[in-house]
Symmetry: C2
Subunit: 479 residues, 2 copies
Amino acid sequence: MPRVSADRSVALSEVITLHDNTVEAHLRRLCDTGRPGARLPSVRDLQREFRVSPITVQRAVRSLVMEGRAIARPGDGTFIAKPATAFSESLDHSWQTAVLGRAPQVQSGLDHLASAPTASTIALDNSFPDSGLQAHHLLTAAAIRSARRPESWDRCSPQGLPQLRAVFARELGDQFSADDVLVTPGTQAALDSIFRVLARPGDPVVLEDPCYPGAIIAARLSGLKPTPVATDEFGIVPDSLADVLAISGARLVVLQPRHSNPTGSVLSPERRTAVLAIAREFGCFIVEDDWVRDLDLDGPTGPPLIVDDPHGHVISLRSLSKSLAPGLRVAAVIARGPALARLTSARLAADFFVAPMMQATACEVLTSPGWHRHVGQLRTTLGQRRDLLCNTLLERAPSLQLRAPSGGVALWVKLPPAMSDSALAAECDRRGVRISPGSIYALTERSEPHVRIAFARSDPAMLVTAAERIADAIVAVER
Amino acid sequence: MPRVSADRSVALSEVITLHDNTVEAHLRRLCDTGRPGARLPSVRDLQREFRVSPITVQRAVRSLVMEGRAIARPGDGTFIAKPATAFSESLDHSWQTAVLGRAPQVQSGLDHLASAPTASTIALDNSFPDSGLQAHHLLTAAAIRSARRPESWDRCSPQGLPQLRAVFARELGDQFSADDVLVTPGTQAALDSIFRVLARPGDPVVLEDPCYPGAIIAARLSGLKPTPVATDEFGIVPDSLADVLAISGARLVVLQPRHSNPTGSVLSPERRTAVLAIAREFGCFIVEDDWVRDLDLDGPTGPPLIVDDPHGHVISLRSLSKSLAPGLRVAAVIARGPALARLTSARLAADFFVAPMMQATACEVLTSPGWHRHVGQLRTTLGQRRDLLCNTLLERAPSLQLRAPSGGVALWVKLPPAMSDSALAAECDRRGVRISPGSIYALTERSEPHVRIAFARSDPAMLVTAAERIADAIVAVER
């Protein structure tokens, strides 16, 4: 291997077969074959040899320096660099720190999605019904039928399969059609798109206080300002809503009118009317997150809000995660007017379309004779679990205040005034039960501590064990 | 039904059984039972009757007005409103116009995704291999096995199934592990998340000129400024990249190093090295959109760029849409350092996780003995179609300039200098062939007109017919 020096560069260029007869190619070959640390030919030498301008030479040298093959020491010369670090050697990603800046606050309250619980832990922080309550027999049969159809694997319209959209429209009544429906990969994705294209970064978005943490992280992901509105046992407080809209100028309100997460409240008929009137008055969108549509445990609580809204203020989200299975990732947005078109464009830009295989499976299940039977059985089972958990907690932990919710998957439990919700949750954690401290749902400082305890993912024996451990944890925390 | 008047209001309040003895409830009942247009009691009367402050009365009146049950005529009084318009009557969504503002430009160049082609149209604007080239036998078998496993329907980690991530990591070699992989619902979704959380609204993002329109609409959805970098037949031009990074301050570069869409260029080995050196120099991310990984039609074109990058600059996107099926919606992001963690948080906030059923299906297919055979056959078929289309076009339309690309799914065809690409595409459309005008891929004014003609979605007979019609269209446009 020839030793490279400024003096020998002319000779070298004659020896090496020149595939690419440019200054840059010449220098690159010198770097490839020379000893690290050796001086490369001077700009003047190269200029003379190749009969080019100094700018051309400098550009070639800069190119090699940028590739890390050469090192420039101003005033001294240019030298062959050491070979690049081998891949397996220490990887240094520290440069990303400055480029990325501070991490956005997007991962709060949904930790149970990111971390799998250990087998011995009873996860009462999880809203999803357990595997035994998911409609596997319906899903498997529907998926097998769908998998055999070639169109399940081909592209599909960004709005979703027409037959599935028709099913979602029919659920709401004759005044809706498939054209009013957009299929999304879950209601979280729907919230995300709504926050992106029906508001602008920096805009306020009105959320119930307390509210579902997924709405908070979705709002933050789009740069919206979560803005709290007061709620009580009848849902969102209309006067508070009118006030917050007037003060904040918000044009987007998210609420869960039925079995709200976490409080379990159901919006009263008077308030439904009031909320719709306020939406008209202020010209705003009401996002109705109908997260447990199928889970009225004590009889019907009335139709979705959108059914009473002829003017396109309500955007209704229909979830299947709790009543069918969390892994399906198929939900519907029902909306009217330009808003739906804009949401459809946003979904196209964000991920093209929802896997038609999953859409076809959802469609098969929702139109199968077993669907209503499954939902009926699910309601009965969840009602029994709710009652069992309520009664065991009231018996074992009389200092708690709780009311059985008329639907949904969780209890909202008021703690004694001096008790810390996070201390109780931590103590339960140590005893092998995961519950959710109320503060992860809060947008304002709440004076009354709560915890949320889900009853959907545990069988009766586990619920009794969990209630006993929670009662023990309360005694331990009170001490 | 009693007629309502100010004079009779006291009497009425005694007659009606009071469920809710407040001013507001009283007024609501009057509105429900009274004649539209009738005057409601005055503030003074109500104040006297209920012994409350004028503020309380005014708040109650305002509430009814906001609900649309009463109409306030300042200086005159308050009157019962007409009942709300029935749902089926004319729906007026015009209020949305002002709230939403001008539509964002997000729907350009991907129209073929939103509109289904008619049966008689030959869609050479579509990159997806046709149904006959999709691996249906593998997909169906894999999906049926996956559908029977309960975990396919349950929740899953936002990063994706560990076994699938391990498969994607193994493709790249020993230096990668499942921890470096994030599963997304397609590479469009990956681009979207990258644009959202590795840049800030208003930031520039460097895109190849011309480039894939999906990258342009994803950039716009996140409020980034698409910033062009020059390309030629060897891919991105390193000097242009260094210049644009220096001028724009961009920290995000998207490129398709292999069989770039639309030009078909393959990044040369020298340029691979140069691009990585520039990434180090400027501290930026290179997003490698490896959109046709499996479709080297003339032998291997070298490993993905990320294999040569030990420092976490390259974020590699691995698509299955062209080689497996467009409907699967499963892709991988391979990245190192905090960037991957941030992308994972963003996916969690945006849609929780990809349907585990689809992930399990992808994993089964990629590890099945039939996968490599399928890809081999696909390459052979696409190579034959490419040659057939090239030869037929060169024969029938000698004014075109084209070079067979060494991979991918489409030809990039240079038109005679004076010909309009959109005029030719429109003329082809009239003759039942859809092709893509080059201008939908352009970020700058391009002096040389091109069209893109895909050969993946049509059988040989259709390709010959299409080539003949294109040749006829050229004659018609030239005339």
